[in-house]
Amino acid sequence: MGLVVLFTALLPTQGLAQCASDKPSLLGAFPKGWGIDPTGSRFVNPQHTQINAGNVGQLQLKWVYGFASDTQRSFPLVTEDTVFIGDAGLGLVALDRANGCERWRNTDVGADVASAVLARETDDALMLVIASREGGISAVDALSGRTLWEAEVEDEPVPWYSGSPLVVGDQIFVPISSQEIALSMNPFYGCCKSSGGMAALDADTGEQLWYAPTIKEEPKVTGRHLVFVEKWGPSGAPVWSAPSFDAARGLLFFGTGENYTAPATETSDAIIALDAGTGERRWVRQFTANDTFNMGCVIGGPNCPEDAGPDLDFGAPPIIATTPSGRDLVFAGQKSGAVYAMDPDTGDLVWSARPGRGGYLGGIHWGMAADAKRGILYVPISDLPAGPYPENIPGAPGMFALDMEDGTILWHTPRPVFDGQFFWPGLSAGIVAAEGMVLAGGLDGMILAYRATDGEVIWSFDSTRTFGSVNGVKAQGASIDSHGPLIAGDAVIVSSGYGGLQMKGGNALLYFELASNPVPADAPANAGAAVTAAGQ
């Protein structure tokens, strides 16, 4: 059992943390996208972090910031002295890494900020890019917090900017889903006409360069309900998550979700490869056919398709990686609990495995990670009992390590399920790997570091508590979901609390740092300067 030592001196007991300067340093912007790098590996190499399996146990909680919303879904970006993160309910904030004080706040970006914060570096400036779910894409000057431009994708009538964009050179790739998934709950709404898609914007101006819908057919009337309300299709195949970029091939890879309405298309629940320069489609590989589903099905509404499918999206971005044997593969994890490895040139299936049972909240929900040097694909499984799932297969919440070459399970560390638990212990959030370890957050609020070689938990922290915060907001830790933890330099940054869907809401941004003076494992429980978790 790990020693959890509560320290209080560094956490202010009164007043707000003050910044010495409101100007962030622009040096050392990291990471390079939701996937940490454009390939989506979610692996932080030693060039970007000192944290590894040998010292993760020396992480100490340095400060806590209280978000304005209990459903936080932004992924931070750091420079050498600042954390930039979307604060759902407020906007985009720049926090001092030393004490969490607020350097600046941008409220132009909207209160529904929902993506990773991305960076575009130029000679003398740093531009931040972020998406808000309904508002679109915003570019913000990192030094001043001033909005540079705002952009929306015009090709879809009610787009949702739910997935994180990706900045590559002078282009910003923007995944597009649709608000129609929620509008379908309204019985007077005629579901549905929109398609998911991928857009490319000019990074200097926000001007749209191209748009590639996942459904090319025009929707047609397919029936009526309540006498007058017209049903439309095909629709859907939304892109819920960030694309991954293969620089060698000039290709973007991304996953799609279900069709909202019939007729189903061959592009739903699929992995799609596009030419990043033109948006031209190179290949499509569908894994679940005829999956038509919308939120009308959840409430038994008239917009639910007659033969509703299991809603088995690809919520996790694909990973493009080279295996130890030298083969390039695209890895994709589905809400069904299945993992697929594909040939990046053709989309042909190379191997598949099914470590999870699946369900409409995963299975594999937000993201996997790959350590290409070790040849390990880390697969977090949630298996939250939700929606139609095969009841003859037991849920398998926990962490799996798969051999990148052939999908063989190298190890599996289950999360125990027991009565009285804070919440289901599934690993739904995106994970992040570093040298010799992988870090995950559970829906039960636990933060867990697993050793790469055998899956042993080498550090853990229970975030389900109330924290004093540097901004005076009561900060509550709860379910960890959505983008998951970030490892950067000597820090680990985790948003705890996610009130979306069925999870437990909370609003704590936890900033951990490697201890400069490592705490002995047998230290007394009140002997230090921060809320600290030592190794197990």
Binding site: F188, K193, V229
Partner: protein, 148 residues
């Protein structure tokens, strides 16, 4: 009989009747016209104007003839009360006031169905003041009295 005697209970009951009738009519209009049926109605996050106008249309459809001929809504007709000019209790207000001003407020009950319930309260609460006039009465320069 004093014009305000027993008026409060009748007005509230009449408002309750109209509260159900107007949204019902608005929903029928919505179904037939399909104005809230497609994504364009929700584009830019502002479906409110269409919803408010549906409320006005529902109000006019339900009460237009009665307002024109008798200065009453269906609820007021059932409860035997009517709308008159504030400065002349014997004069029926012009139709433009009854529809063009009061009906805008009666879009609120429809909007209440989608979450803006506080607008209804804002309109109705002044009826508890001594003048027994709602906000829409004040705006239109009208009052409600017992008939006969």
């Amino acid at each position: 009989m004093r014009p305000h005697q027993g008026l409060l209970g009748r007005r509230l009951l009449a408002a309750l009747i109209d509260f159900f009738l107007v949204p019902t009519a608005a929903m029928m209009i919505m179904l037939v016209t399909g104005v809230m049926e497609g994504p364009e109605a929700y584009a830019n996050g502002v479906p409110w104007l269409r919803i408010l106008l549906l409320g006005v249309a529902g109000y006019v459809l339900t009460n237009g003839w009665l307002l024109w001929r008798r200065g009453q809504t269906v609820g007021k007709w059932l409860l035997d009360i009517k709308i008159v000019q504030m400065d002349d209790p014997d004069a029926r207000p012009p139709l433009w006031k009854l529809v063009g001003v009061r009906a805008l407020f009666f879009g609120f009950p429809h909007a209440a169905l989608i979450g803006s319930w506080y607008l209804v309260l804002l309109d109705v609460l002044p009826i508890f003041w001594s003048s027994r006039r709602c906000l829409h009465d004040v705006a239109a320069g009208t009052q409600v009295v017992r008939r006969g």
